[in-house]
């Protein structure tokens, strides 16, 4: 009997309280941070862990961040004996190989919560810092070939000891960043967020008592486990395979079409994902470390099995992962990882490609599944400040089993808002000339794929451009007869004599001069079902709305 072990009321009540705490931490972090990246784009997450470092609750935020937080508490516990962890301590870390992180700009700060001299829980938050040093501004260049080029590596170290901020550590971090003032503000915000979390968890422990609190956390984990197992049972047993290909690693451009392969085995109430056959880790920074892989898988399965499962470690218990070390999905040092989200996105697509054979009604066709990221840096003559402006763009969300995809959104492991254009132009010497859907970029099908986005940046002072993006060569695939969507591209000065299409989605140190236009064009997504089955009124509507051209419609339908 699945419900015997837990008290169905306390779980719900305590679950509500824990989520409320994670959300309050998140509100504090977003509101108090300095950088536009966190503030406007909410590129941050907050979570609560049990004393063993298992995730208990996470504020609804960016799924890939779950990865950085999956590892942090365990790394702290591995490094520090319990007698060296004190109330009021806070640990900072960002290293993917030693600090539980997934790439260097994501800095995590975690804090244990004590009662009667024992750790009862951890609170932690993560924030994407727009620069942590390294060879290029923004720390996320496509041409890095080693983690050492990507910026400052921080293993778990104490940023606060017994409640007192360790200024030495802060000074060292700031000295390694190109935008220290902003970093300082963000670190403060992260510390403030944890303090709120610590207070609230203490209140909760005082209310329920240590024992009940612990039991409640365990029951909350068990609840998530029950839910995922129940969901997995609805998927037919079997082994389902799929392979998709990344364009290139941005470095060894002759090596094209890098495979990501998965075999998904569904066995009653648990699921095994085997990535054997995926390409070996690559020189460019698109490698994924284990925690990021796990975070990606947890996202992918929750989204198609049961979107109401609380984001905690309970449901991980039903999932087993096989990922050979040294491959792109489980990289070893010193592989560069700055552009890992492109690969994470594709891992989700691959899992859906495989499960389309088992539960076609639940998955979506191939999505834009890159995180098209542009990064501008230079000196703003208005105030002589050096600036770094990273921005990630959405694209098409694949067509679904009963409706079209969604045009121009972030998919899968990311969901960050874009900076308002009026803020952007106020803050940086850049003007946006266009922000629109790309017609015909959604694959044809009974249901059409979502459209990609075109965003044109007009450069007003000399600056450098860097990027990482994918699906510029391998198009997002359709399902059950649906056609693929369009690939993306970066174009300098489109439609002019100097038009130049960049060779790869992963570039760095591209010099732009005043008057240049950098046009970022993101991939669309695949269609679902045979184009011949598309209702005529939908085709007509697409033509009327100029989402599909007449020419393309005649070709496809």
């Amino acid at each position: 009997m699945k419900t015997k072990s837990i008290d169905p009321i306390t779980v719900e009540v305590m679950g509500n309280a824990l989520l409320s705490i994670a959300e309050e931490m998140s509100v504090t972090l977003v509101r108090t941070s300095y950088s536009t990246n966190i503030k406007e784009r909410k590129d941050s997450s907050t979570a609560i862990f049990n004393a063993k470092g298992e995730t208990i609750a996470q504020a609804a935020a960016i799924p890939v961040h779950l990865g950085s937080m999956l590892g942090i508490c365990k790394e702290i516990l591995a490094k520090y004996p319990l007698d060296q962890i004190n109330p009021g301590d806070m640990f900072v870390a960002n290293d993917p190989y030693n600090g539980g992180g997934t790439h260097l700009p994501d800095i995590t700060i975690a804090q244990p919560v004590f009662k009667d001299g024992e750790i009862q829980a951890f609170v932690a938050n993560i924030a994407h810092h727009s620069d942590v040093g390294g060879k290029v501004a923004g720390s996320s260049s496509g041409d890095c070939t080693s983690i050492f080029q990507e910026g400052l590596r921080i293993p778990p170290i104490k940023i606060c000891s017994k409640g007192i901020i360790n200024q030495d550590i802060i000074d060292m971090i700031l000295l390694n960043c190109r935008t220290p003032k902003e970093r300082l503000g963000d670190l403060w915000a992260q510390i403030a967020s944890n303090r709120i979390g610590e207070n609230r968890i203490e209140e909760l422990i005082n209310k329920y008592g240590k024992f009940m609190f612990k039991e409640g956390l365990e029951a909350f984990l068990k609840y998530a486990e029950n839910k995922i197992r129940d969901g997995i049972k609805q998927i037919p047993n079997g082994v389902y395979e799929f392979t998709d290909y990344l364009d290139d690693d941005g470095i060894e451009l002759t090596k094209k079409h890098l495979p990501i392969k998965v075999s998904v085995k569904v066995q009653e109430d648990h699921i095994i994902l085997d990535f054997t056959g995926s390409v070996k880790q690559v020189k460019g920074g698109i490698n994924v470390v284990k925690t990021a892989l796990y975070a990606t898988i947890y996202y992918a399965l929750k989204a198609i099995i049961d979107s109401e499962i609380p984001s905690n470690a309970g449901y991980y218990r039903a999932i087993e992962v096989i990922a050979p070390e040294g491959t792109i999905v489980n990289a070893t040092p010193p592989a560069a990882v700055g552009g890992r989200t492109d690969t994470c996105q594709r891992i989700v697509d691959v899992i859906y490609g495989a499960l389309a054979k088992a539960v076609p009604e639940k998955v979506v066709a191939g999505c834009n599944s890159a995180v098209t990221t542009v990064l501008f840096s230079g000196t703003d003559p208005r105030n002589n400040n050096f600036f770094v402006y990273p921005e990630s763009l959405g694209g098409g969300l694949g067509a679904r089993s009963n409706k079209d995809g969604i045009d121009g959104v972030h998919v899968h492991v990311t969901n960050s808002s874009n900076l308002p254009i009026e803020c952007l132009e106020m803050e940086y010497p850049i003007m946006i000339e266009k922000f629109e859907f790309i017609k015909d970029s959604g694959g044809a099908g009974k249901y059409r794929g979502g459209l990609g986005i075109r965003r044109d940046y007009k450069i007003t002072v000399p600056m450098e451009f860097a990027s990482h993006a994918d699906r510029q060569k391998n198009a997002p695939w359709g399902l059950l007869g649906g056609k693929p969507g369009k690939t993306g591209k970066f174009v300098i000065n489109p439609g002019t004599k100097e038009e130049k299409i960049l060779q790869s989605g992963k570039v760095s140190e591209i010099e732009l001069k005043p008057g240049d236009i950098l046009s970022a064009q993101t991939p669309g997504s695949g269609g679902y079902g045979l184009p011949s089955e598309r209702e005529e009124k939908r085709i007509k509507e697409d033509i009327l709305l100029e989402k599909t051209t007449l020419h393309q419609a005649e070709k496809d339908y």
């Binding site: 419900t3 837990i6 169905p8 509500n16 309050e24 509101r31 874009n418 859907f437 100029e546």
Partner: protein, 683 residues
């Protein structure tokens, strides 16, 4: 001496409140709404309340109407056929929004359909730079061409929004003029008039929604004005807006988007008024209905107004009463999910089939059924005997649907339902209090709506709140609120200026412009200078931040001393809201806000004569009611609300019943009736 009339139309009921200026008392009436044609219930209600109280229509000297016509048109997507004119390159902004998807984990959830179809979103050549200077001038011929096309499309409304127009409205003004020449019958909104504030998507969306609602709301308020004239009411009516203020019919027609969240705001205004009379200025309002609950927080009896709320899934940036809604109420259904946990809501049994205990075919256990089973609600009848209750049905449905699956006893399951729904309410109250830097223990909970008083005491106890106020007629507080609101309009301008002495005159210039605008508006609305109230605020942040805090100021700054006071106020507000401040950091001003208020001749209820503390005359009987505090059903006195007199004291445990509400007073607490007949529960 005459009468003031408040008419509040909700989805289920139309509530009226008639205030007698001589007697200083309220008369109320509730009747079912007529959603097909709301004016039916309105006319019938007005005629009835006047004739029952023998009041000649021409004695009504003030009338405020609260309507959800705008809200419903937005939700049901029944606004006007609307077109958009925007800067070249940006017609998709309306649909792209902030490029996030609506649900992270639900791949099948869609964004709301854009309110202007893509083919009706037209681009014209023009562009302003970040500082408002012109990069490309407006191509007027193109504007005319675009409008000629619209003629063919039977467009009913147009919205105009250009990049950076909040700094320089010239291009938008020109377009507006051309539209008025070419399409004189079409409704027009331009962003620099509707919301001259930065952040283009939010400004665009607010302006476009204003256009979309314009024709519908204009027609409705015109009819309303005609209708009351026919009844014989001569005074000019006012319309309630989302910021807990009222505006005239003419202003409403230009600003329909400002009515879009007016429903909950009337209740908040009513609670503010009643609580202030009773001596409570810092309150949390708790309006629990059948399917949802609204909570809000206020200090010094001033409802909190915030920007950045959403209507029908779209962000709307005009200031609105800061109400937080949760999808749980008395009709919410309890169920066991596939993880084995008891959940309450978001589905609701609604009015039909309703809770099982109502015997109208409801087959799912609801919060009401749990209240009936635990006998907090009368197990035999409610609504003063007019509606029978089937106790056995409540028992049975909890047993069948919850106990069998979980092994919980019926009592435990019913207790669980209340615990969970209360925990949802607590979460909502935390959002408006602790997440904004307020300690709920410093506030009084004001409970209203059908189910508010039933849950308030236990929710308050969990949050450490010491006092609960239950107004005399919790069911018609919205209609009372309409008569307690000021005439009000919010004005805003954006300009980024460091809060430094060299900018003093520039900052003051912005404020003074807005103050003049507000005063002129109030004069036009017939408010003489001496009755005008002007509140000023500046949205401030640390340089580099991108969120602002609104800091109230008395008026233009004038001196460096005042500038320092302003900075200091910002630092302490920041400290309060976020736990830190950094006084060495530079501070910048972003938005300048001026609120013009005109005191309307509001209601002033009189107090009643104090009686003795003895409440025994109001006891209806005794029943066994379950209370968590003792974990048992215990003998509990049941009181009749209308027999209670000022000063009466009720010792908990007790139940107080009235026509449309039931108040629970837990053990170990004491309640007293105040001079305005409110029940104050001391926990």
């Amino acid at each position: 001496m005459g009468y003031k009339l408040g008419v509040d139309v909700g989805g289920t009921f139309t509530d009226l409140c008639l205030f007698d200026e001589e007697e200083k008392k309220n008369m109320v009436l509730k009747l079912p709404s007529t959603p097909q044609d709301p004016s039916k219930a309105i006319i019938e209600g007005i005629k009835n309340i006047l004739s029952i109280n023998k009041v000649n229509p021409n004695k009504v000297n003030y009338l405020v109407h609260g309507t959800t016509v705008g809200t419903n048109a937005a939700i049901e997507r029944k606004g006007a056929k609307t077109a958009l004119i925007t800067t070249e390159g940006f017609r998709d902004l309306l649909e792209l929004a902030r490029q996030t998807r609506p649900s992270i984990y639900d791949l099948y959830k869609d964004k709301p359909e854009p309110i202007v179809k893509r083919n009706l979103r037209k681009e014209v050549t023009e562009r302003l730079r970040f500082d408002g200077t012109v990069e490309k001038s407006l191509n007027k011929e193109q504007v005319s061409d675009v409008l000629e096309e619209m003629l063919k499309d039977d467009i009913e409304a147009v919205s105009v929004c250009f990049m950076h127009s909040y700094l320089n409205p010239a291009h938008e003004k020109e377009v507006k003029q051309i539209i008025q020449e070419i399409l004189p019958d079409v409704y027009v909104s331009v962003s620099s008039e509707v919301l001259p504030e930065y952040r283009e998507y939010e400004r665009l969306m607010t302006t476009t929604l204003n256009s979309y609602l314009g024709p519908v709301v204009s027609k409705y308020v015109n009819n309303f004005a005609e209708n009351i004239k026919e009844i014989g009411i001569e005074t000019k009516p006012y319309i309630n807006q989302s910021n807990s203020g009222v505006m005239s019919i003419e202003v409403t027609k230009n600003n329909p988007v400002r009515t879009a969240l007016s429903g909950p705001s009337a209740g908040v205004a009513g609670a503010a008024y009643i609580a202030k009379l009773a001596g409570f200025e810092d309150i949390i309002t708790f309006d629990m209905g059948g399917t949802s609950t609204d909570v809000s927080l206020m200090q010094h009896s001033i409802p909190k107004v915030a920007t950045g709320k959403s209507v029908a899934g779209f962000p709307v940036q005009v200031p609105m009463t800061d109400v937080h809604a949760v999808g749980a109420g008395g009709g919410s259904i309890a169920w066991i999910d596939n993880g084995g946990v008891l959940k309450v809501g978001p589905h609701s049994a609604g009015a039909s089939p309703g809770p099982a205990a109502y015997d109208k075919g409801g087959t799912e256990p609801t919060v009401t059924d749990a209240n009936v089973f635990l006998k907090r609600l009368n197990p035999e009848y409610i609504l003063e005997g007019s509606m029978p209750i089937n106790y056995a049905a409540a028992n049975e449905v909890i047993e069948d649907k919850l106990s069998v699956q979980t092994g919980l006893s019926v009592i435990d399951a019913a207790k669980g339902i209340l615990k969970i729904v209360n925990s949802n309410m607590m979460r909502a109250i935390r959002v408006v209090s602790v997440e904004q830097g307020h300690d709920p223990r410093e506030f009084t909970l004001v409970a209203f709506g059908g189910a508010g008083a039933l849950h308030a005491a236990h929710v308050a106890k969990e949050l450490g709140i010491k006092k609960v106020l239950v107004p005399d007629s919790p069911g018609i507080l919205c209609a009372v609120g309409l008569l307690a609101s000021d005439l009000r309009m919010d004005f805003v301008k954006t300009e980024r200026l460091k809060a430094a002495p060299q900018n003093l005159s520039l900052i003051d210039e912005k404020l003074n412009e807005l103050i003049t605008e507000a005063k002129e508006w109030l004069l036009e609305e017939g408010v003489p200078m001496e009755q005008q109230m002007i509140d000023c605020k500046i949205d401030i942040r640390y340089v580099g931040q991108n969120y602002e805090l609104s800091i109230p100021i008395k008026g233009a700054l004038k001196t460096e001393e005042n500038l320092k006071v302003l900075q200091q106020a910002f630092h302490s507000e920041h400290e309060k809201a976020y736990g830190y401040a950094n006084e060495r950091e530079e501070v910048e001003c972003i938005n300048y806000r001026v609120i013009g208020r005109g005191a309307t001749s509001k209601i002033n209820l009189r107090s009643h004569e104090a009686g003795s503390t003895d409440a025994s005359h109001a006891v209806l009987g005794v029943r066994n009611v379950y209370f968590d505090e003792v974990d048992a059903f215990i003998n509990t006195k049941v009181y009749q609300r209308k027999k209670l007199k000022p000063n009466n004291i009720i010792e908990g445990p007790a139940i107080v019943e009235q026509m449309d509400s039931t108040t629970v007073i837990p053990p170990h607490s004491k309640a007293q009736v105040d001079l305005y007949k409110n029940i104050i529960i001391n926990l």
